[in-house]
């Protein structure tokens, strides 16, 4: 005896004056339609062709990655191009890149929750999912690049028969704690946000295995107002904890380089510069994913052009901060005048047979290309944003690669200068890791609520005030 929910009348004209007030809220929707559109993405069984296509593509990448990793574990890290002096390269670059991408997710959902930004609602779940899977992919690299990966557990302080502990002055041990804490907190944050939506899916799905799984995952959530109150408090607290966590994790990741003695690495600007870089590449990835999902699942009502617009503005802002980072690094070094530092920064710019072409490419990618976002039309066009974001992602990867390899290549003694040439295995490991990221993401898109249904409901006009919304 389901009664048909009445259609919501348009109540507040001035709310949607064309273009003036950013419209982050789905207008023609009510509770029922919001719930149905979002949960149907997960519930209806029809396989969307391009979802299966993407799954197969990334499945191929995933299996190349598995193959490369097997060969790596059998033969040794020698299959990559690393040598003495450049003992780190693609693996650590990809680690920093992936974890950088991960940071935007939690920053969007946590920091913007604290700032009560309404536009976060429709993209926060996508961003958090991206964080979880990016950090999972990133966490792989520090293990893969170990010389003897089967002793990775020596990095953890477990009580062992040798009574020897990890050495806590090393940034790599900090990394272990930082990355695992970050993964856990993001997972909690993401899962907690999803409990009410899982309850919705549980209630709307046909009886069967999926209903039971959703039921288990929803942990018996029965939308009780008392529960909501405690849920909101905990959610806010988690957001409050996650924000400083994001800053600290990427500062710790940057301390992998900052605590060292390598000229070009031991810069005091590294922590903020890396965090800005992380947010920058993170937003780029979020934009890419949002645009793709928006088109694939017709979420134009939820992820409106205004969302893209505000994210583009943030992309531009962080691009400027990162560019400021480049500028300050160069000027402070030349001002300081230490012969080793000056050599590294100078040869980065001029040695075109080695790293200079990478340096100038990344300057264009990270500094010049995002300037197009000053124009409103560019910010609102999906195609331009998509391309700019991909370029920024490439630029940020090159930036980490340049920092790591060029500083190690020519640091102190001329006799130990060396050059890094990537091998096919380097490239395959990196490309394979992209597959490793997208497989769980596609499964998330398929089986879990894509947007935060409960928060979107809360945003509906009249959801709060005495309006008519059902």
């Amino acid at each position: 005896m389901a009664t048909e929910a009445p259609k919501l009348e348009r109540r507040d004209e001035e709310l949607h004056v064309l273009g003036l007030k950013p419209q982050y809220v789905p207008i023609e929707h009510n509770l029922q339609s919001v719930t149905d559109t979002i949960s149907d993405i997960s519930l209806d069984q029809r396989r969307r062709p391009y979802w299966v296509g993407l799954l197969l593509l990334n499945g191929a990448l995933f299996f190349t990655f598995a193959g490369v990793v097997t060969y790596l574990l059998i033969t040794g890290v020698g299959i990559w191009g690393i040598n003495i002096p450049v003992a780190w390269s693609f693996a650590i670059t990809s680690f920093v890149w992936w974890i950088g991408i991960g940071h935007a997710g939690t920053l969007i959902s946590a920091f913007l929750l604290l700032m009560h930004q309404p536009w976060r609602t429709s993209i926060n779940r996508i961003a958090e999912a991206m964080t979880i899977f990016a950090v999972m992919t990133a966490g792989l690299f520090p293990l893969l690049h170990l010389g003897r990966p089967w002793f990775f557990y020596w990095l953890l302080p477990y009580s062992n028969s040798m009574s020897v502990w990890p050495q806590f002055r090393s940034a790599l041990v900090w990394d272990v704690f930082a990355v695992s804490t970050y993964f856990l907190v993001s997972l909690l944050f993401w899962y907690m946000g999803m409990i009410p939506d899982l309850a919705t899916l549980r209630d709307r799905s046909q009886p069967g295995l999926r209903k039971e799984i959703y039921g288990i995952l929803a942990m018996g959530w029965r939308s009780s107002a008392r529960h909501w109150r405690r849920y909101e408090t905990a959610y806010l607290l988690l957001a409050g904890l996650a924000t400083p966590l994001v800053i600290s994790v990427h500062s710790v990741v940057s301390s992998d380089f900052a605590i060292s003695l390598v000229p070009g690495w031991h810069e005091t600007v590294f922590p903020p510069y890396f965090v800005a870089g992380a947010v920058f590449s993170g937003f780029a990835m979020v934009i890419v994913l949002c645009i793709a999902l928006r088109k694939a699942y017709h979420l134009q009502d939820f992820i409106t052009r205004d969302h893209l617009d505000v994210m583009a503005k943030l992309l531009l802002a962080t691009s400027l901060i990162t560019s400021y980072g480049y500028l300050s690094e160069q000027t402070v070094t030349y001002y300081g005048g230490d012969q080793h530092d000056v050599h590294v920064y100078w040869y980065r710019l001029v040695a075109f047979d080695k790293y200079a072409w990478i340096v100038w490419t990344l300057f264009t990618c990270n500094t010049v290309v995002p300037q197009i976002l000053w124009f409103r039309r560019a910010r609102r066009s999906q195609a331009v944003l998509f391309v700019v974001s991909l370029i920024v992602l490439l630029g940020m990867w090159l930036e980490r690669y340049m920092i790591i390899c060029s500083s190690l290549s020519e640091d102190y003694l001329p006799s130990s200068y060396g050059f890094f040439k990537p091998t096919v295995w380097d490239v395959l490991t990196y490309v394979g890791s992209i597959g490793f990221f997208f497989i769980p993401f596609l499964l998330f898109v398929r089986y879990l609520p894509l947007l935060s249904i409960s928060e979107t409901r809360a945003l509906l006009p009249g959801a709060h005030g005495p309006g008519v919304g059902r």
Binding site: M1, R204, G220, R222, R226, R229, Y231, S255
Partner: protein, 195 residues
């Protein structure tokens, strides 16, 4: 009577947040204590209507944070300076500046766990076999309907009286009696037939 024990409570359905707010206020003023509202999203002010005090979660998180930081720092201090002190790069055994990042991470970790587990524990979740799930209509509680439930554990609760009272709150649809055991398929209670 035996019907009394088998009943968990009475459920009334509403369609707008204002209705549920008013119904809850009226129920509370009528003296019912064990009242709970079920809404598809957080309705502003509903918790105050239900008379909830300040939640204990923040204090839990604070304790968690302090414990995390304490454990984090002591672990590092004990291993580096007490259990196996060795000279690493001329740095002192207790190089506390180097211990700060891990201490901070442990603080955040334990605090977050405290927040999440605290919320679950205090809410009594996971509780998959709650009597309310025996009511088919209640499935809409997580979608677009608002429900008010007065539980049998309330001392003023009487099946007929309370059903009568609920009827006065203009609910949409009949007052539903929430059975405790799921298999006893409850035929609609004739007495509570609304208009």
């Amino acid at each position: 009577m035996n019907a009394q024990q088998r009943v968990h409570g009475l459920l009334a359905e509403f369609w707008t947040p204002e209705e549920i707010l008013k119904a809850t206020r009226v129920a509370r003023q009528a003296g019912y204590q064990d009242v709970d509202a079920y809404t598809p999203y957080t309705v502003e002010g509903l918790a105050e209507e239900l008379g909830m005090r300040r939640s204990r979660i923040p204090s839990l998180v604070l304790i968690g944070g302090l414990v995390g930081a304490g454990v984090g720092f002591f672990m590092q201090y004990y291993t580096m300076a007490v259990d196996y002190p060795y000279n690493s790069g001329g740095r002192p055994y207790n190089s506390w500046p180097a211990f700060i990042p891990v201490t901070f991470e442990m603080l955040i970790l334990v605090a977050s766990l405290a927040a999440f587990l605290g919320m679950l524990l205090i809410n009594g979740l996971p509780h998959p076999n709650h009597p309310l799930f025996n009511v088919a209509e209640f499935a809409r509680a997580s979608q677009d309907r608002y429900f008010l439930c007065i539980e049998a554990s309330d001392e003023k609760f009487d099946v007929h009286e309370t059903a009568q009272f609920l009827g006065t709150l203009q609910p949409h649809g009949p007052i539903i009696v929430v059975p405790i055991e799921p298999e006893a398929v409850e035929e609609p209670d004739p007495a509570a037939k609304p208009n």
